[in-house]
Symmetry: D2
Subunit: 471 residues, 4 copies
């Protein structure tokens, strides 16, 4: 696995209502959301009678053939991309799930994480439920099958009322496409319109709307449920209102720069973070070099604000897939070299400001600093476009244990030494919110601040739930 | 699809308890049971902690690689091969299923068919169950998760008490391998012993024991449940006793000739059927020719009893897989030619007694008679080693609608004309049971006699349950 | 590899001239010839302008998809199936080969073996030729490109005049389909007619004609070349006439029983061999049991002649592919059990005459005798439907080294002991030719008699030619 | 196919001498050279005795498994990546080729194009050569097999003396790795050293050395042949000296920015081109936006020189593979949208300087300008970092017919209108060479200037050579 030194988004979702090529559009939406998960992908479609599904391990382009898309009949479809660590990323744990229950069929794709999934699951099992997968999504489906409600929307709302945590969900029934975002609105979800067909699109990010030529309508709000049917769009507010707590890390790293989340363009936000870094750490340096791709926009902002020239001293090989065959007698720093190459002709003799989005375990950062020094840089000043990541995420982001978070275990000076930088500068919380415009809008920043909007159930060891492995 | 002009067995099952290479033995057992189902195969294994599973579409040899077998860790395993019609034979409908429920994990492989599956499913859905597949197996798992019981055996028994129909089941828990045969014992199930490892084997037919070098212990009896654990084997009788009704068609066609089912060797039974045909239809003919492979043993019996020479006038191409690429401008009788070739040097000018196991739609039989005539046969007398198939099977065998059963729609004389034979002779029920030894042992012969041991729920249209399709 | 205890045919060829679905018919012809080679298959087609080719490792059904067949455009095609030992059976060594040379394009498929291939190759290399493969076929192509001749037929004839050994060849040019059989006619080659399209078929065996609905016209004669073009068929005799020496082992084992080779039906020849065995070895036995499939016809002949009942005491699993996953702690006699199962209900207490086609290394025969004894046979008399195989074949059949041929190293009594039989009887040469009708027709029987019609070049170590391996 | 609106590099090559994991390093080298060809990849290795090869269609990561690499034994290896248009990119036309000839085995991988290939081929065919592929490489191998010479180097040199055109070749014999660059040195080739193993590396670009941790030694010079054997490196000058004519388009577009070609760093050269564009076209604009990735460095140079802010207004989806499934009812400008997304939050209301490397057919450029306008740009000034491409390349670059080159058919003003830009500015030849440092070093710029260093044989229609297609 190439990159385990990062927080990783766990999922992206998309939904299409009323388009003759619904599954093809869903597939393209997933294409645009590929950065949110590259381990598995799936689409479920319906013609109002039957449900069709195709899921597989790997990237969207590898999972779907033209023949697969053709078999996914009907005018409505939902799709899902998933990231997860190797061990668990088995076919049975891919989404969207589709089930039959007393009200017909129901399909669901989920981005997020329930903090009380284990508790709910145990309760459901005590009541006689059986589980085919390890996914929270299945818990939600079980709940929806057991509650009452006049329509699928009410049932889904009643089910989710028992769930705590983060969820941006798209759901498909015989007649409806439903989108719902948890009361705190951790993960993004947007609504678009297919002008020609008069249909609708739901997606994790606006970049998915752009690719399929859908018009942006608006963000689904925290705590909102939209129900799209032949009668049009209905908006509901099934949950008790609480303050919005959108994940601030989406802006810093997860989302695509060309997406707008809750009204804020990601690329511009990152550039403003660069401006803030310039104010915090005005360096006496020759060049500003980003760690591509995640460090590019912040580095540009820093260069713009300081006037220090912006240079691409590290070139990224975009053909690198998730795996490669490594020689046994390893080349020094091979793991990072396969992705990044440092240019002596740019770096030699230079005092370099290096900008990356975050430092998680610190191992990759150390190797990158090494590369830059080996290419002849005289000084390396490492600026991080986020505050120190001192805690794990419980809201749908894959994070290492706290014990592996370098910033949870070491002082900034220790980290500087460990990554062999001449200086190290993290973004401050205040600067972060200056860049975001305002703190008041309501963000989650728990992995930086320790201020967790929802607590995880005690002793929840997800691991123990997983008894079944793909052979 | 090569052969839709036959009744088809729906499944074969195997279970291994305590062998260091349990999954490999399960795989080999399925190899030996391949004739019972060639559409899909799967193995679930356990080391007592985790469950591993691998399933796929196609033949056993194609579904499993050495790597797959290696990943199926643990000393216990169950396996399943499945036949089904194309439309429904999707990956999600392959077995064994494995689920988590309040008592841990439970895996199940099932040969048979529940006649009240739909009813049970609707009840379960009303009680809040969700269904991921279209299989009866999932109904049984749901029931097992909802009943009480001191151990998995009791729970499975309680679940099955609500089920009506045919089931020969192998089940796997963290600590036990369970085998159970329905009260009427429609489908076979045998117990064997792995002498060296001291382990046990369950399998649909004895030929599976032979291949893996297991000693035959005994047939599981109708209505019996065996629970194999580290403490040894325990036999239970959880159901009210009713008379045995073993499927007589297993002897005529489904089972492998080298298997012994409930004490009777299949090959010998078929030869005795040939003797009976000789008594019923002593023909003035030059040669006896089987339709290979299913007609071979009965033809040998007929030849033996009549003294008419046995000849292989039809040669079967054993390399034929389930599919082939057919030319658009079709060769005459192509469908049957790809499987069978008629030899003029054997057949020319001869009066031929042709022996096959059954006539279902009649289309294939007509083509075969054609082939034999084209090869120069002067007369073709078609003998069938079963009574006329006048009804469908509800007990785990895939059968065409009654409207497609030639014997349900036509008189014998009409059939004779339709297949263009000079004479046609079916086995009689009495002759059948003389060949079987005794009628009293208790057999199902419903598809011949209309005497259905269990009625199917009214209006049960399995089709309607299937809303989800693999794209 | 399942079976290395046999002589193996190296190839089968087919050619189609003028049919709108030429490649589909070629594919079906290969299907029927699959028994002649299961390691690789290929088809080359032409529309008179371009040549299309598709080749792959494995069985015909696995190598070709409907899409592949569709891409093989044109009204003419040739095809090839190939057997070879694992090490060398790489993609680059599959046929038909297709090349461009000064006269356009030429494609060739070859069944046989040149005994002076190495010599020719060295000469060609000295003259500046380069070799992409290890195949004799490429040697022939090089020769054809260097000789003069008025048409492709003359060039091919001139090339083959330099070659010594066995070859039944089909060749394709822009305008012609050519078939040629070496002067001694070791390997079979037949001509058929596609009645409807008015086209022609060439094939190794008549069973290929039968499957595609082609009428048998005649055998290509030893030393004959036929040239099929829009003008019709032309027959040439480009080589100095020598006596025919058709491989007698084709009748005993290689060919399909339903084929007729040079006028003799294989099944009937095998039955007559059984009659001869009956005369040579009239046993006091209870049953005659064939080792299926190769022993069936001879066993039937033996039973017919002696009146001892013919029984299928060994059942063969026809689903066995070329490979399977073997447990490490091997089941006793596993290798043979995966293919054959012995039935105690047939064999127990019986004095058994076991009939097989040949004994090569003896290891398999020993295991089979074991199986039969373990199933309870009281006596096992092993009859072989060929004389002792005491030498290798140089004419296109894959054979073990002489040092591995049990009959080359041991007396019959020693062999009897080694395979643990109560008695052992080989066919005699005289009996063989009685069964074949006449010795005078001209057969090769070198691997039995040591009478090699053509000598192999001295010191020819084919191995040394092979420098390039597929990675 | 995503991108046919570009000149495309045809190949990249790599060679490894003396490393225990030679094939793994060759594979990694190809990984780094993936941008030079994504249609097919291959590696040939040798242990001095046998040659091993593995080739396949697709990207390096898809063509090679760990098992494949393991099978490619030996301490020496060469590799090749290839770009070509769909129709011809068949497995048989992948490299490296490996053949046997009178001196043993010889393997060759070639980047470039021979202008007299057809002529040579016809001559060779007249002399009796046969051709298995359509590649120039095979012509070279034939020549090498026919000439005299003391060693493989001399033979290869003698062969190449008959060839005209562009070739950067790596060749492998049992004992030597040979690298050779044609007298004009069109394509790059560099030498590196594996410090630890003491081995050597040849590669198309320095970025391949960087990835495998090899030290850059020097560029192979135009007309130089290096022979690497156990005795070390020998440099030969087998060809009559002519002036160097390195392809200038390598700097502008083909090569990776982090590579140094003949001493010049590509990224810096591109930035200097940006500076020149600034001098030529100082625009009154708000932002400079590159068409990523190829326009990035020049745009940065332009921004640097003009002081106009550099902004990423177009975001490129790097997960896009070579193909995707397109909806039938096409989204407007879908083809370019799947690769690029324009950001209104950056572009709205802005006067934009858009920088790309070249305009070939013009269709893509028009769509990109559209995208930028749709995102709200007020003005779009299109700057091209190369002179107008008015002619095809005959030296190894895949180019459309002259009739499809927009600059060959239209005036700049017409092009401006066709792509809907407010202004259009091409780099001038003089400015190009100012950026390159000097014209005197010797470059090919034929596709811009019409000054072809070598003429193509008359009437050479490569197409006609291609008679054989993969089915
Ligand atoms: N098409 C794109 N163009 C530029 N940046 C992108 C694109 N897609 C994703 N990103 C950004 O790239 C970053 C992830 O890439 P990168 O930093 O290169 O990888 P890694 O996760 O290995 O550090 C994220 O910040 C994401 O927002
Ligand atoms: N290995 C075997 N040898 C002989 N018969 C077999 C074997 N395996 C299965 N059979 C028998 O073959 C029959 C099915 O084959 P066959 O009649 O040839 O196919 P079809 O179903 O196409 O008629 C069944 O009666 C089954 O008992
Ligand atoms: N369709 C067929 N039906 C019967 N025999 C066949 C068929 N195809 C090939 N054969 C014969 O089967 C023999 C090879 O099969 P067999 O003896 O079963 O395999 P093995 O080579 O493993 O001994 C040959 O003699 C061949 O003539
Ligand atoms: N890893 C890399 N980083 C940046 N640029 C690269 C990289 N690899 C190749 N390139 C450059 O990218 C350009 C090709 O990419 P691009 O312009 O994005 O594609 P297209 O050929 O579709 O226009 C070339 O100029 C090449 O030099
Ligand atoms: S903990 Fe961090 S990654 Fe998780 S939602 Fe909060 S800000 Fe985002
Ligand atoms: S109905 Fe026929 S096939 Fe079904 S169980 Fe009864 S006898 Fe067997
Ligand atoms: S040596 Fe034997 S196998 Fe070879 S051609 Fe002669 S008879 Fe046939
Ligand atoms: S013609 Fe153009 S692309 Fe070709 S070598 Fe010359 S400069 Fe390069
Ligand atoms: Mg990054
Ligand atoms: Mg049959
Ligand atoms: Mg045999
Ligand atoms: Mg570009």
């Amino acid at each position: 696995l190439l990159d385990d030194d990062h927080f990783h988004d766990e999922c992206g979702v998309v939904g299409i209502f009323e388009h003759p090529e619904a599954s093809n559009l869903a597939y393209l939406g997933l294409y645009a959301l590929q950065h949110r998960g590259q381990e598995a992908a799936g689409v479920v479609s319906t013609d109002g009678q039957e449900f069709y599904n195709h899921r597989g391990m790997g990237r969207v382009a590898d999972v779907f053939s033209a023949k697969d898309i053709k078999r996914l009949k009907g005018n409505r479809a939902i799709g899902h991309v998933r990231y997860s660590t190797t061990g668990d990323s088995v076919l049975r744990n891919t989404q969207p799930l589709v089930i039959n229950y007393r009200h017909g069929a129901l399909s669901l794709a989920h981005n997020g994480n329930l903090v009380n999934a284990r508790e709910l699951r145990e309760e459901l099992e005590r009541a006689g439920s059986i589980f085919h997968t390890d996914m929270d999504t299945e818990v939600i489906l079980h709940l929806a099958a057991r509650v009452d409600g006049k329509d699928a929307g009410e049932r889904l709302a009643a089910a989710l009322s028992q769930a705590k945590g983060a969820y941006s969900i798209v759901a498909l029934t015989e007649t409806r496409l439903i989108g719902v975002r948890d009361p705190l609105g951790f993960r993004p979800l947007v609504l678009g319109r297919l002008v020609e067909s008069g249909g609708y699109v739901l997606a994790s990010e606006t970049c998915a709307l752009d690719l399929i030529g859908a018009e942006f309508v608006r963000d689904i709000e925290a705590g909102e449920m939209v129900i799209i049917s032949e009668k049009g769009i209905e908006s509901r507010r099934p949950f008790a209102p609480v303050g919005r707590r959108m994940c601030v890390f989406e802006y810093i790293y997860f989302a695509r720069p060309d997406s707008n989340l809750d009204g804020i363009n990601v690329y511009n936000a990152r550039k403003r973070i660069g401006h803030e870094l310039a104010k915090l750490y005005p360096k006496d340096a020759d060049i500003v070099v980003p760690v591509p791709d995640s460090g590019v926009a912040a580095a540009m902002g820093y260069a713009e604000a300081t006037g220090i020239p912006f240079e691409l001293g590290l070139i990224r090989n975009h053909y690198v897939g998730r795996t490669f065959i490594q020689p046994a007698q390893s080349v020094r720093d091979f793991g990072v070299k396969v992705k990044l190459n440092a240019m002596p002709s740019v770096l030699k003799g230079k005092r370099v400001v290096l900008v990356d989005d975050s430092i998680v375990r610190g191992t990759t950062s150390a190797k990158i600093v090494n590369l830059v020094r080996d290419a002849g840089a005289r000084e390396v000043h490492f600026l991080v476009s986020s505050p120190p990541t001192t805690g794990p995420c419980h809201y749908g982001i894959n994070t290492p244990d706290r014990s592996h978070l370098i910033a949870a275990q070491h002082s900034e000076e220790q980290i500087r030494k460990l990554i062999n930088a001449d200086s190290l500068g993290y973004l401050t919380m205040d600067a972060l919110y200056r860049a975001m415009g305002s703190r008041e809008t309501g963000y989650c920043d728990a992995c930086f601040s320790g201020d967790y909007p929802i607590f995880k159930e005690i002793g929840a060891e997800e691991r123990q739930l997983r008894l079944i492995k793909e052979g």
